[in-house]
Symmetry: C2
């Protein structure tokens, strides 16, 4: 049974605070193993990657077979049904259209002193995308990571995807092809992250690595951070649905389960201003759980981490939502659009009863890589900006330097950085003599 809370109860504040800090996942300490793997790949390159792939994925590769050939990719893609291909293409098109609007603008202007200031954005030259193998090998995640990179203008985009026992997911290859990925390697784990970060004889190093993975992959990303850029380290996923009683309990139930079925550490939270409706939704969840394919996983998540919270009014729901800072927030309330304005911290908001979160996972357009574990307080979903960097630009004229240089010299002296001051002074003196 999930946790039932009522915001009007005396014990609510303590219970909710405890609920917020519940640990949902034990990260095994794999750091020393990962450090060894990275050192091995840095020293021995391809040979280390091939050995580790044989060990962990039971797959014998050579430098020549590390990457899928165009023929292999074409053969795998041909296995995908036309319906699946059309769905992937629709998704890609919508994701591309959304992310193209995120392209930032350069700026340049002259200020009153005569100085020209500005900045310009440019893409990262090469990016690597980690795609998990096995059960969690999601073609939608390939689109969500690869398309923003390509929209940003990343010239070289490499994917690493383990194929344990040689089993390939054709949809992943097709998604990569649709997204315009340039290289696909059949490797995974910390060794794949190390290969992307440091390069091997066969795999050129990249500048940025994104994509989800298991504890080894996450630890490897943390370790190579600095040598390359990384995206966030994702925690277990969560959804918060806020709904009033004018909803179909079954719709809310399947929405909650769509998060719970991801994994046992996922979290589904439901907040309503009607206790009876809360019970009806909980009952609908139980009913769906009787037949759901992934009922073991979804049931464990709902039982261990699910919650149904009744509030006296929906303003309280918005306040609780901001304390949760949910990755996904569904608003099934009257005038949901205005209600969304009350929310400060959320990765993605799905507005109105016809916007189930699953739309956002696949075809809505916004990215489905979103901040988990309350990090929506300070971070954002994946975007085009994650694959770009900004260079600031300054140009002083003699007049501008004469106007603002003395203040720089003054502050340099205050900070005991004499040469800083001298670099300004040398020019000011020349101007005064000139």
């Amino acid at each position: 049974m999930p946790l039932f809370l009522n915001a009007s109860d005396a014990s609510f504040e303590a219970d909710f605070a405890a609920f917020l800090t519940t640990k949902r996942e034990d990260s095994p300490d794999v750091d020393s193993v990962v450090a060894e793997i990275i050192a091995d790949v840095r020293t021995r390159g391809d040979a280390a990657v091939i050995e580790l792939t044989e060990k962990f994925d039971r797959l014998a590769l050579t430098p020549d077979t590390l990457a899928f050939t165009p023929e292999e990719i074409a053969a795998e893609c041909a296995k995908v049904s036309p319906e699946e291909r059309a769905a992937l293409e629709l998704a890609a098109e919508r994701i591309r259209a959304y992310h193209q609007r995120q392209l930032p603008e350069d700026a340049q202007w002259e200020d009153a002193s005569g100085a020209t200031l500005g900045w310009r954005w440019g893409p990262v030259s090469a990016a690597g995308l980690y795609v998990p193998g096995g059960l969690a090998s999601y073609p939608s995640s390939v689109l969500m990571n690869a398309i923003p990179a390509k929209v940003a203008g990343v010239e070289r985009l490499a994917i690493v995807v383990p194929t344990p026992d040689g089993v390939t997911n054709p949809l992943v290859l097709l998604a990569a092809q649709i997204a315009g990925v340039d290289e696909i390697y059949r490797i995974g784990g910390a060794q794949a992250v190390a290969a992307l970060a440091y390069g091997t004889e066969t795999i050129a190093p990249v500048d940025k690595i994104t994509g989800p993975g298991n504890a080894f992959v996450a630890a490897a990303k943390r370790r190579v951070f600095g040598k390359v850029g990384i995206d966030m380290i994702a925690g277990p996923s969560e959804i918060l649905v806020i709904a009033d009683k004018d909803n179909d309990p079954d719709w809310i139930a399947v929405d909650l389960l769509s998060q719970a079925e991801h994994d046992e550490s996922a979290q589904s939270i439901f907040i309503t201003d009607d206790a009876d409706f809360g019970k009806a939704v909980a009952a609908a969840v139980e009913k769906r759980l009787e037949t759901l394919e992934r009922r073991a996983i979804a049931g464990a998540s709902w039982r261990d981490f699910g919650a149904v919270i009744t509030v006296p009014d929906l303003d309280v729901a918005a306040q609780l939502s901001d304390r949760i800072a949910p990755e996904h927030l569904e608003l099934c309330v009257a005038d949901a659009e205005s209600y969304a304005d009350k929310i400060t911290h959320a990765g993605a908001i799905f507005i109105g009863a016809y916007t189930p979160e699953a739309i956002g996972d696949y075809v809505g357009g916004p990215n489905h890589v979103l901040p988990t574990a309350r990090s929506a307080r300070f971070s954002s979903g994946l975007s085009v900006l994650d694959f770009m960097k900004r260079t600031t630009l300054s140009r002083m004229t003699p007049r501008a330097l004469a106007a603002i240089g003395p203040a720089a010299e003054r502050l340099a002296i205050s900070e005991s950085l004499e040469a800083h001051g001298l670099s300004v002074r040398a020019r000011l003196d020349a101007l005064n003599e000139g």
Copy 2:
């Protein structure tokens, strides 16, 4: 003597590659000490912070004296000379004007399917800024970190600054006041980072921590990353100057030294297309080093990590620059503005002979917190965006759901995520019945 390289020499490629990977700083392994300090602060709060401050800073505090009072701040600020105050105010005004232009725009649109999509930006609620004590306690860094936060709309901005033996830097307090900082605590080290991240009885936790610090501070920031957001982990600073022979060698020399004087691990690189001019600049550096206040530091940096590189033409200089991906890049060449377009990777570009890098450290307007150690390949200087986060918005109408929902359902089934598909199907069925 710095390294002299000539791009026309047969050994150049090997020498330059070795130069690029020279390690300039040993990071002492302080991770286990830092882990203990963080655990201690999480468990014992104020008491731990106070004990550690007594131990490391030889300063006896109580919960009541952890923060500077408004009276103490006013008293310290009154010690600053009018000239210094005016310089700080000019710097603040220019930094504010530049960063205000970085405020991102919200977006919302309806697409052909009838779906409303968009995003909105909002500030982080609370941020903490680490300011080093002692020699590296720079008021300019307070402005460069605090002003973007306040421009972003951060409501609560707290500073931690250690005051070893009770010695305060009045300029740091004045810079904080000018920037609109809300709280100032006289604590430092890993204990201050832990207090900001987890909170104590006296210090409320923040959502984002920025600012430079020593190895303990850097290790603590790495550890609390995830609980809060952090800015980049800065490495030792570097400058690259590209200049043709139509420049005053002394100007270039002081520019190189303005980087070298920061610390012995700093790096100053000079590239020119005229070998004689390269020698003249090197001679000018030696001459300035005879009298420079920080000649011990600047001399060591220049001797150990400095370089003078001669290239056959300036296009080669631009290519080498991109391989260095310098934090600071000064362009003292003819038509420097067009030349800047050849550069792909740099934190900040200073265009033309009247734009010494020191202008950007203080009063130019752009941020002086910039990506070091080649990370300009994938990251950007500090900006308003570092103190904001984006929430994506989606709203489907029944028509939009009917148009794109089936593709989502199709992909959900392909990914074996049945509940995802059902959450779409339940609505589509209702629409079909309706």
